[in-house]
């Protein structure tokens, strides 16, 4: 079989690519390959589903008729094992070979499982990344009362919140000296830790699991400091690493993730990559890095799609960005995560109760920010960062809870608004 465009991956990046291709080219043949058998769904919704906030059907990222409407073929539940860049073919685990004109690799991330003595084969150990994990956790919940979550990052904490709300006794084990360590600053970490403790979740810091006890099931975990905790379930949510197996032993350059330029092209002609498996250009960081984030995956896939059909586009505005919430406390942050006592950056912040706003400035420009508590209009700060606006003249106003364009002096305000003060697109007259 030969397809003009082949996409390996069926999540944010893959779908972004399909949608971009079809905006410009309705005639070419497109194939989506995924190791998972499900219609495109959103991994980010897993905690919401387990929480009972949404029905199973609502986990689908696009409507049921999506592939038909987009006129793309799918091979779902079939793993792509290898890419042969010489012959421009993707090899599938069932022995099939697919020839491609252009290829996107959007294989996402895989959970990182740190080494633990005694771990292997137990049926109550789960990660929190895929539909099958969810279904496993769901089954395991029936007779679980105590759970240990390894990892105090975003996924680990989201899992912990859901399980705590279901009435389980939850203990989070985190290696760093605070939760969400690389993502947010210490002030935010402490607020979050307090929220969890108030809701009966124990947060165990500076610690990790050195040994698990139990043959069929993990019955007990032993921490690095010797503490023993009985448990009915172990959730491993330490992080994700790029899933780059499919390009192993190919000339496609891989660093931590698959290296791409700003057009999302890999080092091999006609092969593109995006999302959690790739290393993309971070405009704040100033170089490439792995950004395993939903918006950057989708946008990266979209940019790849445009370039694949021959319309040149660059992805110049990727950077770290997160919107998260724990026990109805919301946080949005983007750019660099700078400590408050930084010497390299000018840090301004305001903390009142649980409402926290902080900006790290460099040469008057925003290099990173955190908004927590009151969230409206946080996107304006991302815009100021993307545009590299010098905020020195109005930096004190950034800390206002109702900050808006009105607080940005003219003519910068109109520069940000005017070229697009045209609001909206309406149906045809």
């Amino acid at each position: 079989m030969k397809y003009d465009y082949v996409i390996i991956g069926n999540s944010a990046g893959g779908i972004g690519c399909v949608e971009a291709i079809r905006e410009l080219d309705i005639d070419s043949s497109v194939l989506v390959i995924s190791a998972e058998k499900y219609h495109t769904y959103s991994r980010a919704l897993i905690p919401y589903y387990l929480d009972g906030k949404i029905e199973f059907e609502k986990m689908y990222y696009r409507p049921p008729d999506f592939y038909d409407r987009m006129d793309v073929d799918t091979k779902l539940g079939v793993r792509a094992t290898r890419v042969d860049v010489e012959r421009k073919r993707v090899l599938l685990e069932n022995g099939e070979e697919i020839e491609y004109g252009k290829l996107l690799i959007a294989t996402g991330g895989k959970p990182f499982i740190p080494p633990m003595d005694g771990l292997g084969g137990q049926n109550n150990v789960f990660t929190f990344l895929k539909m099958d994990d969810v279904l496993g956790v769901e089954r395991g919940l029936k007779d679980a009362r105590k759970v240990v979550v390894l990892g105090g990052g975003i996924i680990g904490l989201m899992a912990s919140e859901v399980l705590a709300r279901k009435g389980l006794d939850v203990k989070v084990v985190e290696l760093a000296d605070r939760v969400l360590a690389p993502v947010v600053d210490e002030t935010t970490s402490r607020i979050i830790e307090k929220k969890f403790q108030e809701n009966g979740v124990e947060i165990i810091l500076n610690n990790t699991i050195s040994r698990v006890v139990g043959e069929e099931r993990v019955e007990k975990v032993i921490l690095r400091d010797g503490r023993e905790i009985d448990t009915d379930m172990l959730i491993v949510a330490v992080g994700v690493v790029p899933n780059t197996e499919v390009v192993k032993d190919t000339p496609i350059k891989v660093n931590r993730g698959i290296v791409v330029n700003r057009k999302m092209e890999t080092s091999v002609k006609d092969v593109y990559a995006c999302g959690d498996c790739a290393e993309i250009y971070d405009f704040v960081f100033g170089s490439n890095r792995v950004l395993p984030l939903w918006p950057t995956a989708y946008t990266g896939g979209r940019i790849a799609g445009f370039n694949m059909v021959g319309r040149e586009r660059e992805y110049n505005l990727a950077t770290s960005m997160n919107a998260m919430h724990f026990f109805d406390y919301y946080i949005i942050n983007a750019g660099l995560n700078v400590p408050n006592d930084s010497e390299e950056f000018e840090v301004i912040y305001r903390l009142e109760g649980d409402s926290y706003r902080k900006f790290a400035l460099k040469d008057g420009r925003i290099a990173g920010f955190i908004i927590a508590g009151k969230m409206e209009r946080a996107g304006i700060f991302l815009k100021l960062m993307e545009e590299g606006i010098d905020v020195s003249a109005f930096k004190d106003k950034l800390l206002k809870e109702n900050f808006g364009f009105i607080d940005i002096p003219e003519p910068v305000r109109w520069k940000l608004l005017e070229d697009k003060v045209k609001l909206g697109v309406v149906r045809e007259l």
Binding site: N322, G379, I406, L417, V426, E428
Partner: protein
Amino acid sequence: MAKIRIVSKPEVCIGCHLCEVWCTVAHSKSKDIIKAFLYEQPRAQPRVVVEEELPETYALQCRHCNEPKCVAACIAGALYKDDDGVVIHDEEKCVACYSCIMACPYGAIRINLETKKPLKCDLCRGLDHPYCVKYCPNNALEIVVEAEEFV
């Protein structure tokens, strides 16, 4: 395809907030100003943002961008562009993660105080005319027609 756009004119905006009032009406069940404000529970909420630092005032609402960042950021597939190029928010699918609040460069997505879910302009889908434009007493919001260009 010709596109209609709403243009905001700060120079003639009088800061009366009637666009917010009528946006509320447009998104109420009854579409009646008295019923919408007195009897409907929960009361509908406006999607237009009025910024003011007197004497300067102007209204902003979703621009229905050509490349909507909110759509790219949405983890639930709750934001999408319909066939008319209008960016629509499906409240049913939304899980209130606020990725769109993070992504919107104009701060044009508001938050529903009742449901905590995002609220955005839908260009008065299903009505004859966007209400904010129709009822602005000083024509500070106008509709212009433009040829669509692909960026």
